[in-house]
Symmetry: C2
Subunit: 420 residues, 2 copies
């Protein structure tokens, strides 16, 4: 009988899971230091809640679930798997008017998308979102930026840059060249600057029928500023930048950049994006203000700012760079068993060690010590305890430190103490 995972799915085996957990814990710690609270929403949402929220492409990629039918029959698909964490947040806010605003929540949960599987991309993957719901204060943007900054530092990244812009500044440029009806085309083109450079974008816009005067004027503003009627937006960005500095963000790591065109129809104000400057993997975090979205299920608009950390991408980079190690391993100590008659002694010793705070394994098979040591090595423990009849009759055990290679005979009453 052959057995497989479902397409695009994967298991997270213990070693990898411990690494992911320790990484996620560090991130959570940063979120919580800013008073963000955890939220969990169900994997399954009503199909009406999700459909139409992610465009045509999204509608295709949503995993639909069949209603419970009668035996053998298939009901119709009336629910679906969570596609992101933003729509569920909007639903939670609409359904829970008792939550005090601003609501500062983070959410780290898997989402599911029926993408064509590719190397390193899965149909189940974790998203990591931080949002401030219910305030127009630019402090919300500053906290999102500061959180990304501290989280990346906590993960061990040093070379990164947070770029900052405002959707309304981009729109003013589009307006200035008299092309408001073609805003999306222009933003899509600008978004390619990183990949194809100014020359490429100019050609692209030319091919789309924009005049060279329009293109020149656009790049003048993109490169040198001087955009008309955006004083408010620019001073707002500067104020956000200033607040971010007060929140510990290194000034050299955050800059206003009018070419940042992130998020085409989602964001309504400031936008930000973080790239690793010593890698060309693309952005590892992005976010901004999206005042239209959270209110989608309610009667009134709800201002909101959010940022996503690209968890899976960060894990990939950290793995490649050796920044993720399974420091804990399966256990700290392995207690060998001399023979079945002496198993009870090994169990009691293990229990002493557990009480002392050591994660402790006991051989499930007595017999040759060599084999037991081999298993202990494979489990990645630091210490192996040997307790034969001679040791036990004198109230001692042999403690072998695999790290230093040293071995010592230690009295049982001093065992825990000797291993500190």
């Amino acid at each position: 009988m052959s057995v497989h995972l479902a397409k695009g799915m994967r298991d997270i085996l213990p070693g990898e899971l411990r690494k992911r957990r320790s990484m996620i814990e560090r991130i959570q710690h940063v979120f919580e230091s800013f008073g963000f609270e955890p939220l969990q929403t169900p994997a399954v949402e009503r199909i009406e809640t999700l459909m139409g929220k992610y465009g045509d492409e999204g509608n295709k990629l949503i995993f639909r679930i069949l209603a419970r039918g009668k035996a053998g029959e298939q009901g119709k698909a009336d629910s679906a798997l969570r596609y992101d964490l933003t729509v569920p947040l909007a639903r939670v806010v609409a359904m829970n008017p008792q939550i005090p605003l601003p609501f500062k929540r983070y959410q780290i949960q898997p989402v599911w998308r029926a993408d064509r599987p590719q190397r390193g991309r899965f149909r189940e993957f974790y998203q990591c979102d931080v949002d401030v719901v219910g305030t127009e204060n630019g402090l919300a943007e500053a906290e999102c930026i500061a959180i990304v900054h501290q989280a990346l530092l906590a993960l061990g990244f040093a070379e990164f840059k947070i770029r900052l812009n405002d959707r309304r500044i981009l729109r003013a440029m589009v307006s200035e060249i008299g092309a408001l009806d073609r805003e999306v085309d222009i933003l899509v083109a600008i978004d390619k600057l990183d990949k194809i450079g100014e020359k490429g974008v100019r050609e692209n816009l030319g091919e789309q029928g924009f005049s060279s005067e329009q293109i020149d004027r656009l790049f003048e503003m993109l490169n040198n500023g001087g955009i008309p009627n955006v004083e408010t937006e620019v001073s707002n960005l500067e104020s956000i930048q200033q607040m971010a500095h007060s929140l510990g963000v290194d000034p050299s790591r955050v800059c206003i950049d009018y070419t940042l065109a992130r998020g085409l129809d989602y964001y309504t104000g400031p936008v930000f994006e973080t790239v690793l400057t010593d890698d060309n993997i693309g952005s590892v975090s992005g976010g901004g203000r999206y005042d239209g979205l959270i209110g989608m299920f309610g009667k009134k608009q709800v201002p909101a700012v959010g940022v996503s950390l690209g968890l899976e991408r960060l894990i990939t980079i950290m793995e490649e760079r050796g920044m993720l190690t399974d420091t804990e391993g399966q256990a700290d100590v392995w207690v060998t068993v001399f023979n079945s008659e002496y198993q009870v002694n090994s169990l009691e010793i293990a229990q002493i060690l557990r009480k002392g705070g050591f994660r402790t394994l006991v051989s499930m098979k007595a017999g040759k010590l060599g084999k037991q040591f081999k298993k202990a090595h494979a489990a990645g423990v630091r210490w192996v305890i040997v307790c034969g009849p001679d040791d036990l009759s004198s109230g001692t055990v042999q403690v072998k430190d695999l790290q230093s290679g040293s071995q010592a005979s230690v009295s049982l009453s001093k065992l825990v103490e000797s291993m500190q």
Copy 2:
């Protein structure tokens, strides 16, 4: 526009989530102290992997997922949501021959069942399983029992009893009364002893056509033992009990009980179940040896022992008894903002506090202090910081301790220290 959760689903809001997390952490700590390793499997499995594994009822309750079809079309259901954690474990073991045996894993993840929703029962709920795969050593059973014992203690339970039996002993009783062809009927009846008592079970068996001689003989064995040909099994149970004691299990909390008929077609050897003796909620944990199941996807039998903690049931009981409290709350400190001009000072103070290890909120709205204090109270912080122009010009802040009601003027350089 009205908005709802999908049927049988729920959100876990921050306060509740913190309580669940702290509870799960305590349990994980016990598991890891015995060297059990975490595993995560995907929510989505191939439909062939799940169908037929849970009986007719299970087949009906499995949530089936549609394959990605062309736009607008529905493909057929080729995958499904995880229904338990045991079948995925069997799949993982079959697919990963490199994992050293015995494989000691725990898994705490949601499962999905299309049950008719009832009060307090959801279609997405967490299971918490611990299994030892790949050993026939009774130490595996003893560790499972010890883990349940320590986990319940760690959660604050003191009044509970772990009952222990062996499926083969039950079978020997059935054989002794010449009813091997009706084993299931008898086990189902015995399983009702807790609810309907000996009298009820006797009547039930009588109605099913068993003779009074058969019923008398059965209860003689259930109550007094003396079952023929089970010396090996009984001494195995005694040995497990002895090992559990060595692993810290209070002898008064574990007993051999021939009436325990847990698990009809699943278990192949020892079985165990834990009930709270100061509650009649039913079992909070159950498990046993199931040597036939883990090998289902492979070529050879793989011995295994596992135990489940009834996480959702335990949470319900702990909530009812007030054993679960959100001790952490949203944050530790709230920094007020005197007015927008002084916001930057509040941000810098907040940053000092965060560096000092305090989870810190800053008012998103300056203005009346009374309102800010009200929000701070609602957030459950212990301390509120007030920093007006007078304070700041003298390099101090006002620290109000909401717990003691005291207020003090503290120099900024001593702030963190003063709050230890």
